[in-house]
């Protein structure tokens, strides 16, 4: 009981920047039901001002705002803060999502969405931020039947060692560092192969495929190495 009270006292603050009143209405209900504290902004300029003054724990941002380009807004926030940003965007606007993620957004939800999806994304982003703050990378990471020994640079599946090439290992490591977060193809290529390879998407696909064949029971039905079509990849370390 006392634990729950402590949680309430420190319950996270969320800034919702959304111009559509109907969507704002149902997100408001959802945020209240999940016990978050929250503030609303209906336009970009107002949202940026609120983000600066209130310094929320997370920003939920619709990319299609009437007054400002959502991606620009993310860049502005990223100049002074690493607060998690989850963007809301329509299907078919994959390029907007990629731009938002490359600009520093943490995750996205696609319209139309259910309250459950949004709340899952918010929780995951908040959890990642908390882990990042602690900044204690453990030596051994387990997910499913996969074990990664970061000190020895070894990976095993169901107890059996799996040989990964240096680039496969590097790719897996980058995904693991941001586990749960979607990484754009550009971000992955830049981190694993370097900035001159950001357009070599086929490399990435071939290596992801090889990783899946080595780590997943059924590569066409992956449990951990998830594809975000047209955008990038995400490592799921918990079901």
């Amino acid at each position: 009981m006392s634990e729950q009270k402590a949680a309430l006292a420190t319950r996270p603050e969320i800034l919702l920047i959304e111009d559509d009143p109907q969507i704002r209405k149902f997100l408001r209900v959802m945020l209240m039901a999940e016990d978050y504290r929250f503030y609303e902004a209906t336009a970009g300029v107002e949202g940026l001002a609120q983000a600066a003054t209130r310094n929320p724990d997370l920003v939920l941002l619709d990319l299609g705002l009437p007054d400002r380009d959502g991606v620009e807004l993310i860049r502005d926030i990223r100049k002074w803060s690493q607060m998690p940003i989850v963007v809301i965007s329509a299907r078919g606007l994959e390029r907007d999502k990629i731009e938002a993620l490359d600009a520093g957004a943490d995750d996205y939800v696609t319209k139309p969405f259910t309250p459950g999806e949004v709340s899952a994304r918010i929780r995951a982003a908040l959890r990642r931020a908390a882990v990042l703050d602690k900044n204690e990378p453990s030596e051994i990471v387990n997910f499913g039947n996969i074990t990664m020994n970061l000190a020895a640079r070894k990976v095993s599946v169901g107890g059996a060692d799996v040989h990964l090439t240096p680039n496969e290992y590097k790719l897996l490591l980058v995904l693991l560092r941001h586990s749960g977060k979607v990484l754009t193809q550009r971000q992955l290529l830049k981190e694993v192969w370097g900035p001159e390879h950001v357009e070599d998407r086929e490399y990435l696909r071939v290596f992801m495929s090889q990783l899946r064949h080595k780590l997943e029971a059924d590569p066409a039905h992956p449990k951990y190495l998830m594809t975000e079509p047209g955008i990038g990849y995400r490592l799921l370390t918990e079901p």
């Binding site: 071939v206 495929s209 066409a220």
Partner: protein, 505 residues
């Protein structure tokens, strides 16, 4: 006198010498008429192999040799019996006649050979040009064949957007002409007459410029420079036919593409019409359910029991989801229809399948999906978002018609230059004869009773065909349906470069 003519004359001497060597020992045993025959054979041999002048020379030599060696008194040109003068005259006459006839025969034969070569060249040209649809390809093929046929250097210059002949727009770099001659090419293009080397206008130019002239307009200018081995000028006629054939091929290609564009327009029109009627039906049905359920909940909330409320709420969410799927499909169709180019990149097939399965996670929660995708399947060039939609539509169909306990199967394999993919279920299958029509419904404009399924499959077909593939359906042995589609693999060259780049990493 060229060396070959000198050789011909020499050959005449040799033949007469050989004839004399045969005749000389026999001169006392045989009649003069028979000796003459042997010389005439010699004349025929020479005439068959050489030109007319050498044959005439051989004829005269033969008469002289006959007189000198075979007519008494021997080894002088004197004649004891004046009857021999008649023999000489007849012999010379015959020899000359034979020479003339043989030369004429030879001329006929070589003419026939040349004509055959021309026919063959034109045949190859029309063969080579048929089926080409781009003006540039036609010009390129024609230029290459002209080089071969006329043993010359050939290039074709094409006009730019503004109607000016540009040396930048050429079929090859094998023939380099001074850029100042662009004005000559332009003149030829405007006047439709030949100009340049060997003609009345611009005779000092380095090349001969010929218009490629169609019925209505001129398509380009062909430049020719003859080399030392070039075929002689008598082929000017052949060159004209050559150019005409090329122009004709271009006209035909233009006409064909115009017709095709018209056909596409008609198809698009009918697609749009049937789309509109199908869509208005498909959109209104879920909208009606949502409106009805929500309005009922609002006005009768207190009178409804908990179970009914939940049921009506599920109607709202389910129908909204259906509406969402429909709108997704419509967006894809609109994209395809408005001629948006496919964003094709090469993907491992399993990645696309995996993404579709993830998208349908909720609907597949209690289902078994068996995938059989060989790990050595090459990458396939696809528009990832559209191809994911294909799998989503096919899987949704399978889910709709298959009992929950039966597995859905996705199998893929490489066959020659295509990847073949099958989605199989154990549902009701298709009514007999319908397997050929399910993809068509929508396109034929049959709007009766088209539900989401019809639209979904029609969109699958549109997407697969936009990828250059084909899709078909059949009933499965033992019950159920198989939807099968093929997507062409990219050519071997690209595969090469892929394996190379993989090797570098």
């Amino acid at each position: 006198m060229g060396p070959s003519r000198f050789r011909d004359f020499f050959r005449g001497f040799i033949v007469v010498a050989v004839c004399t060597a045969i005749v000389f020992p026999l001169r006392t045993h045989l009649a003069a008429a028979n000796l003459v025959m042997i010389y005439l054979v010699g004349v025929i041999v020479v005439a068959a192999k050489t030109d007319k002048r050498a044959a005439v020379l051989t004829s005269i030599l033969s008469v002289a040799a006959f007189d000198f060696f075979c007519v008494p008194p021997y080894l002088t040109f004197r004649v004891s019996d004046y009857e021999y003068l008649i023999t000489f005259a007849v012999m010379l006459g015959l020899a000359l006649f034979i020479s003339a006839m043989t030369a004429r025969l030879r001329a006929h034969a070589s003419e026939a050979i040349a004509r055959e070569a021309q026919t063959a060249a034109l045949y190859r040209l029309s063969n080579n040009l048929a089926g080409r649809t781009r003006t540039f390809d036609i010009f390129k093929a024609a230029a290459e064949l002209a080089e071969e046929t006329f043993q010359s250097k050939v290039t074709v210059f094409m006009p730019d957007q503004a109607g000016h002949i540009s040396f930048m727009k050429r079929t090859s770099d094998r023939l380099i002409v001074p850029s100042a001659e662009q004005t000559i090419a332009q003149w030829v293009f405007e006047h439709g007459e030949r100009a340049g080397k060997g003609t009345a206008s611009f005779r000092n130019a380095s090349a001969l410029y010929l218009p490629v002239k169609g019925e209505q307009r001129i398509f380009g200018v062909m430049a020719i420079v003859r080399t030392s081995t070039s075929v002689a000028i008598e082929n000017v006629h052949l060159l004209d036919v050559f150019l005409k054939q090329t122009a004709f091929a271009i006209e035909r290609a233009i006409a064909a593409s115009t017709a095709q564009a018209a056909e596409v327009r008609v198809e698009t029109e009918s697609l749009r019409t049937s789309l509109l009627s199908a869509v208005s039906h498909d959109l209104r049905t879920p909208l009606a359910s949502i409106t009805g359920a929500a309005a009922t909940l609002r006005s009768h909330w207190s009178r409804l029991d908990g179970g009914t409320r939940t049921e009506l709420l599920s109607t709202v969410t389910d129908e909204a989801e259906r509406l969402n799927r429909l709108v997704n499909n419509l967006l894809e169709v609109t994209k395809l229809e408005s001629g948006v180019r496919l964003q094709k990149e090469r993907f491992p097939l399993e990645e696309i399948v995996g993404a579709a399965l993830l998208r349908l996670k909720a609907q597949l929660a209690n289902r078994q999906v068996h995938t059989a995708i060989p790990s050595d399947l090459p990458l396939v060039a696809m528009d990832a978002v559209l191809m994911e939609q294909v799998f989503i539509n096919l899987l949704e169909n399978a889910i709709k018609y298959t009992p929950a306990e039966d597995p859905i199967e996705i199998a893929a394999g490489k066959h020659d230059s295509v990847v073949e993919i099958e989605v199989r279920d154990r549902g009701a299958g298709f009514p007999p004869d319908h397997e050929y029509r399910i993809f068509d419904k929508f396109f034929r404009g049959r709007t009766d009773n088209i539900r989401g399924a019809g639209l979904g499959l029609a969109i699958c077909r549109a997407i697969i065909e936009a990828h250059g593939g084909s899709i078909s359906a059949e009933n499965r042995a033992g019950g159920g349906a198989i939807i099968r589609f093929q997507i062409p693999l990219t050519d071997a060259k690209q595969n090469d470069s892929e394996s190379r780049s993989k090797g570098e990493l």
